[in-house]
Protein backbone atom coordinates (compact mmCIF):
# COMPACT_ATOMS: atom_id res chain seq x y z
CA UNK A 1 0.00 0.00 0.00
CA UNK A 2 1.42 3.40 -1.00
CA UNK A 3 1.31 6.17 1.55
CA UNK A 4 -0.21 9.50 0.41
CA UNK A 5 2.29 12.21 1.31
CA UNK A 6 1.46 15.44 3.07
CA UNK A 7 -0.13 18.09 0.88
CA UNK A 8 1.25 21.63 0.73
CA UNK A 9 -1.48 22.70 3.09
CA UNK A 10 -0.71 19.96 5.58
CA UNK A 11 3.01 20.64 5.42
CA UNK A 12 2.34 24.35 5.89
CA UNK A 13 0.16 23.57 8.88
CA UNK A 14 2.92 21.47 10.32
CA UNK A 15 5.60 24.10 9.69
CA UNK A 16 3.27 26.79 10.97
CA UNK A 17 3.00 24.91 14.21
CA UNK A 18 -0.58 23.72 13.78
CA UNK A 19 -0.70 20.34 15.45
CA UNK A 20 -3.16 17.93 13.87
CA UNK A 21 -3.27 14.22 14.74
CA UNK A 22 -3.49 13.17 11.09
CA UNK A 23 -0.31 15.07 10.22
CA UNK A 24 1.57 13.88 13.26
CA UNK A 25 0.56 10.28 12.54
CA UNK A 26 1.67 10.57 8.95
CA UNK A 27 5.02 12.06 9.86
CA UNK A 28 5.61 9.30 12.35
CA UNK A 29 5.08 6.75 9.60
CA UNK A 30 6.53 8.50 6.53
CA UNK A 31 10.31 8.94 6.45
CA UNK A 32 10.22 11.02 3.23
CA UNK A 33 7.83 13.64 4.61
CA UNK A 34 9.69 13.76 7.89
CA UNK A 35 12.96 14.38 6.06
CA UNK A 36 11.41 17.00 3.87
CA UNK A 37 9.91 18.84 6.80
CA UNK A 38 13.24 18.69 8.63
CA UNK A 39 15.11 19.85 5.53
CA UNK A 40 12.78 22.82 5.10
CA UNK A 41 13.09 23.78 8.71
CA UNK A 42 16.88 23.58 8.43
CA UNK A 43 16.86 25.77 5.31
CA UNK A 44 14.66 28.34 7.01
CA UNK A 45 16.96 28.33 10.00
CA UNK A 46 20.06 28.90 7.90
CA UNK A 47 18.30 31.65 5.98
CA UNK A 48 17.13 33.14 9.27
CA UNK A 49 20.72 33.36 10.54
CA UNK A 50 22.11 34.65 7.26
CA UNK A 51 19.44 37.31 6.82
CA UNK A 52 19.70 38.39 10.44
CA UNK A 53 23.45 38.69 10.11
CA UNK A 54 22.98 40.75 6.98
CA UNK A 55 20.51 43.01 8.75
CA UNK A 56 22.71 43.51 11.80
CA UNK A 57 25.69 44.22 9.59
CA UNK A 58 23.69 46.88 7.78
CA UNK A 59 22.68 48.36 11.08
CA UNK A 60 26.25 48.44 12.34
CA UNK A 61 27.47 49.92 9.07
CA UNK A 62 24.96 52.73 9.45
CA UNK A 63 26.11 53.35 13.03
CA UNK A 64 24.76 51.39 15.93
CA UNK A 65 21.15 52.27 16.71
CA UNK A 66 20.94 55.63 14.99
CA UNK A 67 19.28 58.15 17.24
CA UNK A 68 15.65 58.80 16.62
CA UNK A 69 15.41 62.20 15.14
CA UNK A 70 12.76 64.00 13.30
CA UNK A 71 13.60 64.43 9.68
CA UNK A 72 14.88 67.95 9.10
CA UNK A 73 12.09 70.01 7.59
CA UNK A 74 12.63 70.54 3.91
CA UNK A 75 12.49 74.32 4.35
CA UNK A 76 15.22 74.50 6.99
CA UNK A 77 18.27 74.89 4.70
CA UNK A 78 16.47 77.56 2.68
CA UNK A 79 15.54 79.41 5.87
CA UNK A 80 19.13 79.33 7.10
CA UNK A 81 20.36 80.76 3.82
CA UNK A 82 17.69 83.45 3.86
CA UNK A 83 18.62 84.53 7.40
CA UNK A 84 22.32 84.58 6.45
CA UNK A 85 21.60 86.74 3.38
CA UNK A 86 19.51 89.19 5.40
CA UNK A 87 22.29 89.44 7.99
CA UNK A 88 24.90 90.17 5.32
CA UNK A 89 22.70 92.83 3.68
CA UNK A 90 22.04 94.43 7.08
CA UNK A 91 25.78 94.62 7.81
CA UNK A 92 26.47 96.18 4.40
CA UNK A 93 23.73 98.79 4.86
CA UNK A 94 24.93 99.65 8.35
CA UNK A 95 28.50 100.02 7.13
CA UNK A 96 27.33 102.26 4.30
CA UNK A 97 25.36 104.49 6.66
CA UNK A 98 28.31 104.94 9.00
CA UNK A 99 30.63 105.94 6.15
CA UNK A 100 28.21 108.42 4.63
CA UNK A 101 29.76 111.94 4.01
CA UNK A 102 28.52 114.87 6.16
CA UNK A 103 25.55 116.84 4.94
CA UNK A 104 26.30 119.86 2.75
CA UNK A 105 24.09 122.80 1.91
CA UNK A 106 22.56 122.54 -1.54
CA UNK A 107 22.48 126.31 -1.93
CA UNK A 108 26.09 127.35 -1.55
CA UNK A 109 27.96 125.07 -3.89
CA UNK A 110 29.42 123.10 -1.10
CA UNK A 111 31.88 125.62 0.24
CA UNK A 112 29.86 126.81 3.18
CA UNK A 113 30.05 125.02 6.48
CA UNK A 114 26.68 124.27 7.93
CA UNK A 115 26.49 124.99 11.64
CA UNK A 116 25.64 121.90 13.59
CA UNK A 117 22.60 122.00 15.79
CA UNK A 118 23.41 123.38 19.17
CA UNK A 119 26.68 125.00 18.04
CA UNK A 120 27.09 128.13 20.10
CA UNK A 121 29.91 129.67 18.17
CA UNK A 122 27.78 130.93 15.26
CA UNK A 123 29.76 134.14 14.89
CA UNK A 124 32.87 132.23 14.09
CA UNK A 125 31.03 130.15 11.53
CA UNK A 126 29.55 133.18 9.91
CA UNK A 127 33.04 134.64 9.63
CA UNK A 128 34.24 131.47 8.00
CA UNK A 129 31.36 131.61 5.55
CA UNK A 130 32.20 135.17 4.62
CA UNK A 131 35.80 134.19 4.03
CA UNK A 132 34.73 131.29 1.82
CA UNK A 133 32.36 133.52 -0.13
CA UNK A 134 35.20 136.00 -0.71
CA UNK A 135 37.46 133.25 -1.97
CA UNK A 136 34.73 132.07 -4.34
CA UNK A 137 34.28 135.57 -5.67
CA UNK A 138 38.01 136.00 -6.24
CA UNK A 139 38.23 132.72 -8.08
CA UNK A 140 35.28 133.66 -10.31
CA UNK A 141 36.84 136.97 -11.29
CA UNK A 142 40.23 135.41 -11.98
CA UNK A 143 38.64 133.03 -14.46
CA UNK A 144 38.86 135.00 -17.76
CA UNK A 145 36.39 134.35 -20.50
CA UNK A 146 37.84 133.30 -23.91
CA UNK A 147 36.56 136.54 -25.44
CA UNK A 148 38.46 138.70 -22.97
CA UNK A 149 41.52 136.43 -23.20
CA UNK A 150 41.87 137.01 -26.99
CA UNK A 151 40.60 140.60 -27.03
CA UNK A 152 37.51 139.89 -29.10
CA UNK A 153 35.17 142.85 -28.84
CA UNK A 154 31.44 142.72 -28.71
CA UNK A 155 31.22 144.46 -32.10
CA UNK A 156 33.19 141.74 -33.84
CA UNK A 157 31.00 139.21 -32.25
CA UNK A 158 27.93 141.09 -33.46
CA UNK A 159 29.25 141.17 -37.04
Amino acid sequence: MTLAHLTDEQLTDYLAGVSLPAIDDHLAACEACRQEAASMRASFQVFDHASMEWSERRQNAAGSTPPLRRGAPYWRPAAVWAVACVAVIAVILLFGLLRRPPKTSPFTGGNVAVPAAGDSNTAELSQDNQLLAAIDKELDSADLSPQKMYGISESVKAR
Binding site: M40, V46, F47, D48, S51, T65, P66, L68
Partner: protein
Protein backbone atom coordinates in the same frame (compact mmCIF):
# COMPACT_ATOMS: atom_id res chain seq x y z
CA UNK B 1 -5.06 34.07 31.62
CA UNK B 2 -6.27 37.61 32.21
CA UNK B 3 -3.53 38.23 34.72
CA UNK B 4 -0.88 37.05 32.24
CA UNK B 5 -2.18 39.43 29.62
CA UNK B 6 -2.13 42.24 32.12
CA UNK B 7 1.44 41.44 33.04
CA UNK B 8 2.42 41.35 29.39
CA UNK B 9 0.63 44.61 28.89
CA UNK B 10 2.59 46.15 31.71
CA UNK B 11 5.80 44.76 30.29
CA UNK B 12 4.97 46.18 26.90
CA UNK B 13 4.32 49.58 28.30
CA UNK B 14 7.58 49.58 30.23
CA UNK B 15 9.34 48.37 27.09
CA UNK B 16 8.01 51.43 25.29
CA UNK B 17 9.34 53.70 28.01
CA UNK B 18 12.90 52.71 27.20
CA UNK B 19 12.70 53.45 23.53
CA UNK B 20 16.42 53.23 22.88
CA UNK B 21 16.39 49.65 24.09
CA UNK B 22 13.32 48.96 22.02
CA UNK B 23 15.08 50.24 18.92
CA UNK B 24 18.12 48.11 19.65
CA UNK B 25 15.91 45.07 20.12
CA UNK B 26 13.66 45.39 17.10
CA UNK B 27 15.46 47.46 14.51
CA UNK B 28 17.39 44.67 12.82
CA UNK B 29 14.31 42.47 12.55
CA UNK B 30 12.22 45.30 11.14
CA UNK B 31 14.96 46.06 8.65
CA UNK B 32 15.05 42.46 7.54
CA UNK B 33 11.28 42.28 7.17
CA UNK B 34 11.08 45.39 5.01
CA UNK B 35 14.28 44.72 3.06
CA UNK B 36 13.33 41.18 2.08
CA UNK B 37 9.71 42.10 1.43
CA UNK B 38 10.56 44.96 -0.92
CA UNK B 39 13.96 43.81 -2.18
CA UNK B 40 15.24 47.37 -1.72
CA UNK B 41 17.64 47.89 1.16
CA UNK B 42 17.81 51.68 0.91
CA UNK B 43 14.05 51.95 0.97
CA UNK B 44 14.06 49.56 3.93
CA UNK B 45 16.42 51.83 5.89
CA UNK B 46 14.16 54.81 5.30
CA UNK B 47 10.99 52.90 6.10
CA UNK B 48 12.39 51.51 9.34
CA UNK B 49 13.67 54.88 10.53
CA UNK B 50 10.32 56.47 9.72
CA UNK B 51 8.41 53.63 11.38
CA UNK B 52 10.40 53.92 14.59
CA UNK B 53 9.79 57.64 14.66
CA UNK B 54 6.07 57.09 14.15
CA UNK B 55 6.07 54.47 16.89
CA UNK B 56 7.88 56.86 19.23
CA UNK B 57 5.34 59.60 18.59
CA UNK B 58 2.41 57.21 18.98
CA UNK B 59 3.74 55.29 21.99
CA UNK B 60 1.15 56.82 24.29
CA UNK B 61 -1.60 55.35 22.11
CA UNK B 62 -0.30 51.80 22.43
CA UNK B 63 -2.81 49.87 24.52
CA UNK B 64 -1.02 46.56 24.72
CA UNK B 65 -3.56 44.63 22.64
CA UNK B 66 -0.68 42.89 20.91
CA UNK B 67 3.05 42.59 21.52
CA UNK B 68 5.28 45.57 20.84
CA UNK B 69 6.98 43.60 18.08
CA UNK B 70 3.67 42.99 16.30
CA UNK B 71 2.71 46.63 16.72
CA UNK B 72 6.03 47.80 15.28
CA UNK B 73 5.68 45.45 12.31
CA UNK B 74 2.17 46.74 11.63
CA UNK B 75 3.53 50.29 11.55
CA UNK B 76 6.47 49.29 9.35
CA UNK B 77 4.26 47.49 6.84
CA UNK B 78 1.94 50.50 6.64
CA UNK B 79 4.82 52.91 6.16
CA UNK B 80 6.27 50.57 3.54
CA UNK B 81 3.03 50.60 1.57
CA UNK B 82 2.80 54.39 1.83
CA UNK B 83 6.30 54.78 0.44
CA UNK B 84 5.61 52.38 -2.38
CA UNK B 85 2.39 54.17 -3.26
CA UNK B 86 4.32 57.40 -3.49
CA UNK B 87 7.11 55.81 -5.50
CA UNK B 88 4.73 54.22 -7.98
CA UNK B 89 4.75 57.37 -10.04
CA UNK B 90 8.47 57.98 -9.70
CA UNK B 91 9.65 55.67 -12.41
CA UNK B 92 13.22 56.91 -12.17
CA UNK B 93 13.45 55.43 -8.71
CA UNK B 94 13.50 52.01 -10.30
CA UNK B 95 16.94 52.69 -11.66
CA UNK B 96 18.40 53.20 -8.21
CA UNK B 97 16.97 50.13 -6.56
CA UNK B 98 19.51 48.53 -4.33
CA UNK B 99 19.00 44.81 -4.21
CA UNK B 100 19.18 42.64 -1.14
CA UNK B 101 21.31 39.51 -1.12
CA UNK B 102 22.44 37.47 1.82
CA UNK B 103 24.54 34.94 -0.05
CA UNK B 104 27.73 36.54 1.24
CA UNK B 105 26.45 36.49 4.77
CA UNK B 106 26.04 32.75 4.44
CA UNK B 107 29.81 32.35 4.13
CA UNK B 108 30.28 33.14 7.78
CA UNK B 109 27.51 30.77 8.77
CA UNK B 110 27.84 27.29 10.12
CA UNK B 111 30.18 28.56 12.80
CA UNK B 112 29.70 25.32 14.69
CA UNK B 113 30.93 23.38 11.68
CA UNK B 114 33.47 25.44 9.78
CA UNK B 115 34.19 22.79 7.18
CA UNK B 116 34.06 23.92 3.56
CA UNK B 117 31.28 21.42 2.86
CA UNK B 118 29.10 22.84 5.61
CA UNK B 119 29.66 26.34 4.33
CA UNK B 120 28.86 25.34 0.79
CA UNK B 121 25.69 23.62 1.90
CA UNK B 122 24.64 26.65 3.96
CA UNK B 123 25.25 28.93 1.03
CA UNK B 124 23.21 26.73 -1.28
CA UNK B 125 20.33 26.60 1.16
CA UNK B 126 20.35 30.34 1.56
CA UNK B 127 20.43 30.91 -2.19
CA UNK B 128 17.53 28.56 -2.76
CA UNK B 129 15.36 30.19 -0.14
CA UNK B 130 16.35 33.58 -1.53
CA UNK B 131 15.34 32.54 -5.03
CA UNK B 132 12.10 31.10 -3.77
CA UNK B 133 11.33 34.36 -1.97
CA UNK B 134 11.96 36.33 -5.14
CA UNK B 135 9.29 34.33 -6.91
CA UNK B 136 6.69 35.34 -4.30
CA UNK B 137 4.55 38.41 -4.13
CA UNK B 138 5.56 41.08 -1.65
CA UNK B 139 2.77 40.22 0.75
CA UNK B 140 3.64 36.54 0.62
CA UNK B 141 7.24 37.40 1.40
CA UNK B 142 6.20 39.48 4.39
CA UNK B 143 3.99 36.71 5.70
CA UNK B 144 6.69 34.10 5.13
CA UNK B 145 9.34 36.14 6.95
CA UNK B 146 7.08 36.83 9.89
CA UNK B 147 6.09 33.19 10.23
CA UNK B 148 9.30 31.30 9.54
CA UNK B 149 12.00 33.79 10.44
CA UNK B 150 10.38 35.87 13.15
CA UNK B 151 8.37 32.88 14.36
CA UNK B 152 5.18 34.83 14.81
CA UNK B 153 1.83 33.11 15.30
CA UNK B 154 -0.78 33.33 12.55
CA UNK B 155 -2.93 35.63 14.70
CA UNK B 156 -0.02 37.99 15.24
CA UNK B 157 0.69 38.06 11.50
CA UNK B 158 -2.98 38.78 10.96
CA UNK B 159 -2.76 41.78 13.31
CA UNK B 160 0.47 43.05 11.76
CA UNK B 161 -0.74 42.78 8.17
CA UNK B 162 -4.38 43.64 8.77
CA UNK B 163 -5.35 40.51 6.86
CA UNK B 164 -7.84 37.94 8.16
CA UNK B 165 -6.19 34.72 9.42
CA UNK B 166 -7.50 32.57 6.52
CA UNK B 167 -5.90 34.98 4.04
CA UNK B 168 -2.64 34.84 5.97
CA UNK B 169 -2.81 31.08 5.75
CA UNK B 170 -3.43 31.18 2.02
CA UNK B 171 -0.36 33.38 1.54
CA UNK B 172 1.64 30.95 3.62
CA UNK B 173 0.46 27.98 1.54
CA UNK B 174 1.58 29.65 -1.63
CA UNK B 175 4.88 30.65 -0.12
CA UNK B 176 5.57 27.15 1.14
CA UNK B 177 4.67 25.70 -2.23
CA UNK B 178 7.16 27.97 -4.00
CA UNK B 179 9.89 27.32 -1.46
CA UNK B 180 9.24 23.58 -1.63
CA UNK B 181 9.62 23.71 -5.38
CA UNK B 182 12.95 25.53 -5.11
CA UNK B 183 14.26 23.34 -2.36
CA UNK B 184 13.48 20.25 -4.40
CA UNK B 185 10.67 18.67 -2.45
CA UNK B 186 10.57 14.90 -2.46
CA UNK B 187 7.27 14.75 -4.30
Amino acid sequence: MTLTRQVWGMLNISELDDFELLVRTHRARLLRLVAFSTGDQDLAETVVQDSLLKAYNARDNFRGDCSVGTWLRAIALNVMRDYQRRQKFQFWKKASLTGVSVSDAAISLASGDPSPEARMLAREQVQRVELALKSLSERQRSVFIMRFLDEMELEEISVATGLPPPTVKTHLYRAIKAVRLRLGGVR
